[in-house]
Symmetry: C2
Subunit: 347 residues, 2 copies
């Protein structure tokens, strides 16, 4: 058994353990003409005039001097890209993640299946996945540069908030006592693996995040944006500033949209708004949907095109906020791919 | 021109701008039978009995209440993997980065060339790249869980310390006034891009980092470790605890080694110690080399095998501490590959 398992990646073992697709190992290979990473944005911040202070560097250790003065590279953003040999997408496809998360959202699922990143690479899209400023491989700045504190998600927070469980109070450490939404597509047995993907976030860095996204778009686009949650808020606002660079937007449960007064700037950008299941009965999500509706209406009033898909209405049920990781994630991805092909953006 | 550039990745543009290899676009495709990511390690930390405190969430904003009590997922570690179709490495190859850095060290270089990750995938190794606990996509814990503060690298620190410039005082914002080491292979014109790869680090998390690395090795190995700088310190200590899981170690400028008293546990693991240029004249690196020599001698005294390569002695000159990003990074990688093949670990 040991020899059999040798060299088999954990993801596949997890997938097997979860009873998932052996088929995955039988898929076609992914053939890339290139792959790599880079950072965009960033600035050199000067910290000066600060007093040398005493900090504890190691728990139980002594107070030691810290001179915070100097220059620091801050507010850069990490991007990883994959370029399929059999290119079918006519433009680069940029995947932007939601709050408290990183580009990892789009990689493997918590139970080890392939995520949307692999899906879109396999469909022939030049695929770019980023970590917003201050998250993941983008790094973060010191308190001398950002005078505010990050916030940390409690273990049960996304379970109750992302429509895995049925709202506040639905989490329980005992799986038998968890109030999972009926028919939920989330791989709930591997919720711990999802929580490992979460990262701290600041509430003060929106301008820095926007600046890096703008730099990113200026460097890599024209392109198509696939946005999730908070990433959609940024994406719409970037599109308002760079309408000529963005050739289509897919917004997956945009958690607030752009600035309504600026929505007319998106009149030449086809938009798809996508929502999962259980939305209307959860006030937080019903509110986002209402905000997105107003933004969509403002685009349409200016002569633009917004398509709207509520997944249950097309027979796809049980999807929560992390639908790119749901058991039927490929079914949802196919809906997006079909829309993109329909807009003439891919063969 | 605009249309010509459309869809060309930034990495390639940077490479072109830097006068580097057009050849890169003409390389053989990378053919993968799979790719994905997962997290290892991690634990649920309980914060309790802490007072609700007031924090500033947004600069200039009000003091708001923060209740830090609750459960948090902490100390997990991110791993991304690539499995070439034409597999030639007999075991998984794990790339561990150095201090203040992430797995990005091994991806594209600051001037947009391919890094060692692509090199080893192209050579047929199942290649795994991780971010140590508290760095990059591994996330980090709150001050309520880790009662210490991260440290931040100043902009000039790695320039002066990683043997790009000639030690303290060699940095200058004016490139014409920088004292770059003669013959340096570092792509110094894109130093800013390298600094964008750096991330904060804590000095208090060694136990957590070790725990996650052990879990990683238990899940993915037997394997070969390719270690850089601080990552080598961890790698040797992991090998001391899991000697049966580690089938070879390549340590690139190990910044301190394992525990000398435990070195005999590595007697069945072939080890390659690799150092670049300008080492002996820079006290910090001469000291690390001495520490590594003592550790190597202790392995050999127990009957083990340690090969040692100082690159200048085999005619490869100008390499600093970030040799996986140097202009001749592929030449150095070939030295490593040749050693691995010589040990019977790859065809």
């Amino acid at each position: 058994m040991r020899r059999l398992l040798m060299g088999v990646p954990l993801g596949m073992l997890l997938a097997l353990a979860a009873g998932a697709a052996l088929a995955q190992t039988e898929q076609e290979p992914i053939v890339l003409r290139g792959m790599g990473s880079f950072h965009v944005g960033g600035r050199i911040a000067e910290v000066k005039g600060k007093e040398v202070r005493m900090i504890v560097r190691q728990p139980g250790g002594p107070q030691t001097k810290l001179d915070p003065n100097g220059q620091y590279m801050v507010e850069q953003m990490y991007v990883q890209y994959f370029l399929p040999k059999n290119k079918k997408g006519k433009l680069p496809l940029l995947l932007w993640h939601g709050g408290g998360l990183t580009g990892v959202s789009y990689e493997s699922t918590p139970d080890g299946r392939e995520g949307w990143m692999n899906f879109f690479i396999r469909k022939g899209w030049d695929t770019y996945v980023s970590d917003a400023v201050e998250r993941g491989r983008s790094g973060f700045a010191s308190p001398d540069v950002w005078p505010s504190e990050p916030i940390f998600l409690t273990y049960q927070d996304p379970f109750e908030r992302f429509r895995i469980g049925d709202g506040a109070g639905s989490w329980n450490a005992d799986p038998a006592k968890q109030k999972v939404l009926p028919g939920s597509q989330f791989p709930v047995a591997t919720y711990a693996n999802f929580m490992k993907q979460t990262v701290p976030r600041w509430l003060s860095t929106n301008n820095a995040i926007m600046a890096a996204y703008i730099d990113y778009v200026d460097k890599v686009c024209p392109c198509v944006l696939l946005l999730h949650s908070q990433g959609a808020t940024f994406g719409f606002q970037v599109a308002e500033q760079r309408p000529d660079k963005i050739k289509a937007i897919v917004a997956v449960e945009s958690a607030t949209a752009g600035v309504v007064a600026n929505a007319p700037k998106l009149k030449d950008i086809p938009v798809l708004m996508l929502f999962g299941d259980y939305v209307d009965q959860h006030p937080r999500w019903a509110t986002f949907k209402k905000i997105d509706t107003e933004y969509a209406n403002a685009i349409k009033a200016a002569g633009g095109t917004v398509d709207w898909i509520n997944l249950p209405e097309i027979g796809i049920k049980g999807n929560g906020h992390m639908m790119m990781q749901d058991k039927n994630n490929m079914q949802v991805a196919e809906v997006i791919q079909k829309w993109l092909v329909g807009k003439g953006l891919a063969d």
